[in-house]
Amino acid sequence: MEEETKRLKILAYKMRKEIIQMTNKAKSGHPGGSLSCIDILTCLYFNVLRHNPENPEWEERDFFILSKGHASPAFYSVLSYSGYFEKDELKSFRQLNSRLQGHPEKGTLKGVEITTGSLGQGLSIANGIALGLKLKKSTARVYCLLGDGELQEGQLWEAIQSAGHRKIDNLCVILDRNRLQIDGFVEDLKKEEPLEDKLKSFLFNVLRIDGHNFNSILDAFNIASKTRSKPTFIIADTIKGKGVSFMENNVKFHGVPPDDEETETALREIDEELRKMERE
């Protein structure tokens, strides 16, 4: 395995353990959609983003907006592993007086650019940031992660129209295409495909990748950063619950944490995977 992708993958699997433990301890939270996007977030925070955890408001930083705010366990994990706060604080997830609110809140925790949790709102905000950066002649970039169920929200299509029309090329949208939402399969609730055609017709540069292949993820971000006069939309095909056999593609684990026994099994599985990686 290539050095950098190996490093990233090991980090992602370590953070998968955090996601399991955080949600198990809180007896609530959203493990499924956190496990499906943790590989993408790991690539962003440990390879792609220009950011400075010591100075979260650094003028020249890139911005990340977690539009699917319920993936807070994954988000808090990458923030703490990046150095925004001590890993130990992850234990306080969803507790009274914790900075790690159920959904990320601006002002409470460093590294959170804006409050999210009500689905559908992140992309308009990302657009506004990207337009502001352009006005300031900044070269910083904006990344925004969406869920595929979330894509049913009308506001996202308003924002997609805005980004395409305004040629917001310092913007990169990533769709966590894990095919599941709460009530079942996305395609059963509302047909979303052909997504590539739809997004192309909204004037996006569209890429489709395996959202768990670290090389593909990094390549896609690289292409996005070189694309001019179009925003980029990366459709990342992912697996909800990825990394824990009994959670994969299991709609139950959208908003239900593993119980103690399941947690033990999950951690064992992930540890095994980690050992395998380290042997490679």
Partner: protein, 313 residues
């Protein structure tokens, strides 16, 4: 009597501020000619964003712009700028304390002919309910100028409600406003009118009509509905012993409700809420509608006299 447009004044003030301060940007949702953000858009197009008929997207984009240090003013009609994007204002703007200024025009029933769909009578209720949101309703064009300058300077979310109709001028052109203070425009002895927006002028007129009935009415303009100036209101309540609130808004949860909850712990004073009863608006000319809903000076005076007689009997 001189009348001036609050919308024109908003557009001019915003443009003047933007000329001085490069951080000021404006957003609109396909109504820039009506809200008068068009004045800024013509002179400084690079700092104007017409989001099309997409109010939710407008509020989000404004929030994003604020995160990069800009001071966004987002405008549309009151009905679309609050109800259509309430959740965006709640989640994206208010919880995050984003530095977004929402300035809406066409509040209330004086929108006129467009009817119920366009006559917003619940916006003050919605906006005052939001933590971190501050709510201003100016009473004339000069106060509007002061309000716009104030919200541009102050960090955090603001909601400003303007109207379609021109308002009679109440204040001197160069008045130095203390916007957080409720303004006693006329002192009185045995009844207090507390009003906001266009109703401030109508209450001043109603107060004149009350003289013949032996009622010396005090008239207070509440421009800042949130935060509300409890002190001035409570001391007036204690002085006159009778309050009549008047607003071009639903009586369910508007100015009247705010005044009532501001005084009820300290003063036990009967309070009559005049406004739109629990119903939607309807088509008509603005002046006709004010009469129809009992918000013209004569109707206000009549209700105040009845109330006075009933209570002081």
């Amino acid at each position: 009597m001189e009348k001036l447009s609050l919308r024109d004044c908003y557009g001019e003030t915003l443009l003047n501020l933007a000329r001085e301060d490069k951080r000021i940007v404006a957003l609109d949702a396909d109504l820039s000619g009506s809200t008068k953000t068009s004045l800024l858009s013509k002179e400084i197009p690079e700092r104007f964003f017409d989001m099309g008929v997409a109010e939710a997207d407008m509020i989000g984009t404004a929030t994003g712009l604020s995160l990069t240090g800009f001071i966004p003013f987002a405008s549309t009609f009151a009905v679309f700028g609050t109800g259509r994007c309430y959740d965006q204002i709640r989640q994206s703007v208010c919880i995050s304390k984003a530095n977004v200024k929402i300035v809406v025009t066409h509040g209330g029933i004086t929108v006129g002919e467009d009817g119920a769909t366009h006559q917003m009578v619940e916006d003050i209720a919605l906006m005052t309910s939001l933590p971190n949101m501050r709510v201003f309703v100016p009473a004339d064009a000069y106060q509007t100028k002061s309000v716009i300058e104030y919200v541009a300077k102050k960090e955090g979310p603001f909601f400003v409600r303007l109207s379609r109709e021109k308002f009679p001028v109440i204040y001197d052109k160069d008045k130095n406003f203390n916007l957080l203070k409720a303004d006693i425009l006329k002192e009185g002895k045995n009844l207090t009118f507390i009003a906001t927006g266009l109703m401030v002028f109508n209450c001043l007129e109603a107060a004149k009509a009350l003289k013949g009935s032996g009622i010396d009415a005090e008239v207070i303009n509440v421009c800042s509905i949130k935060p509300i100036d409890k002190e001035t209101i409570i001391s007036s309540a204690k002085k006159t012993g009778l309050i009549v609130t008047v607003e071009e808004h639903s009586v369910m949860n508007g100015l009247g409700a705010q005044v009532l909850s501001a005084i009820c712990e300290e003063a036990f004073v009967p309070l009559l809420k005049i406004g739109i009863e629990d119903r939607f608006g309807t088509s008509g000319k603005p002046d006709e509608l004010l009469k129809y809903f009992g918000l013209d000076p004569e109707s206000i005076a009549k209700k105040a006299i009845e109330f006075y007689k009933r209570i002081k009997k």
